[in-house]
Amino acid sequence: MILTEKDITERLVGLDLPPSIKEAIQNGLKGVPVSSEQLADIISQVASDYEHSKVEPCEAVGVVAAQSIGEPGTQMTMRTFHYAGVAEINVTLGLPRLIEIVDARKIPSTPTMTIKLNQDYAHDRDLAREVAWAIESSSILHLGSIATDLAEMNVIIELNPSALEQRKITAEEVASRLKEETGLNVDQKENLLVMVPKEPSYRELLQLVEKIKRLSLKGVEGIKRVVIRKEGDEYILYTEGSSIKKVMQFEGVDPTRIKTNNISEIGEVLGIEAARNAIINEATDTLREQGLSVDVRHIMLVADIMTVDGELKQIGRHGVSGEKASVLARAAFEVTVNHILDAAIRGDVDDLKGVTENVIVGQPIQLGTGDVTLVAIKR
């Protein structure tokens, strides 16, 4: 009797196998006539192969992961700068980026966002450009020129009407923003703005100019540049600077597909599970870009250990390695003297349960077969 596709699905449902393997069996048997006995044979073969490929109990997966990421890491370029898109946005890649990821830095050295747009915006270049202008932070230098008049002791700002129109801001809005931020009066005559510092001194005057130059008049603060790039049939925005929380609110932006390379920002805005995904994605992308392929399972383990406590923790002295229970294990890693001294002052006890401690004292380590002990039950 030949089984139908539905029969096969039913047989697979209750099995203790990962969904991807069940799917592979299902797809492999599509259109192939199999009998009930043959299916049972296939399933038991697959199940035993799967069981065989599992990590053995007591295996040191962490060490394997460290080696598997560390060795390809030696082949990575020390200093690379890659220009994504229109040779304008600079992103840190290679080894420095990988270090940045495992160090769980609060702000990466080159924060960038990838903003995808809503259906109706994504295919229209003009609408995409409008969103880009709205997001990009505009300073006074984008909108016109700024000069000082030493005879009159004032600052003269001349606004460029075409720049104002392009960035959708009026001279009145610029004047009111300046007034709000500096607390000074702004004399506006069409596109000419004149401001007088509180005290008529050169110092005050120059400080005022510097302050005005730094002000973000429109857009999201910290987004220095926005580049539009067409990928497939969709326009995508790439930014220099990152602020997903603010950019999500913009009209036309698809908040469900926005991305940033700032992992701790993802942790804050989208939660720890999203941060874990971000670590996996960023690390695989960094390695792949260098032509290295590391099994995701190793990276998943790193991401898991960095996020177990509900917050991002670095792999290192101030994170995973620094929180080990054993004094000797911590001392073996970094700042040896401090750990031993602190432990001596507190009177810490080392249970010698981990690997490092037992290597130090010269005992068999509790890994693999070393972790198995016999227990006699009295009857």
Partner: protein, 78 residues
């Protein structure tokens, strides 16, 4: 302003709040006590959205590159 829920983001896996009975069963299945589970903060955006309280257990259904989807549990902490 566009309406946005954290759970709609493509990087956020599905979070399910377990009832006390369900979480007791999970703990029994692994033969552990609740503090041995991985943690999630109460003010984590994804935990907040499902109104989790301290002491609850959240079941996370992750999309996995190797197993298609895998299940993970986190204990809600302060």
């Amino acid at each position: 302003m566009t309406k946005f829920a954290v759970k709609d983001h493509e990087m956020v896996p599905e979070h399910v709040l377990l009832t006390p009975e369900e979480s007791a069963e999970v703990l029994k299945g692994f033969n552990i006590v609740a503090p041995q589970l991985p943690k999630i903060h109460v003010n984590d955006p994804a935990a907040k959205e499902i109104e989790a309280k301290v002491g609850d257990v959240i079941k996370v259904i992750r999309k996995s590159a190797t197993a298609k989807h895998s299940i993970f549990y986190r204990l809600v902490i302060d």
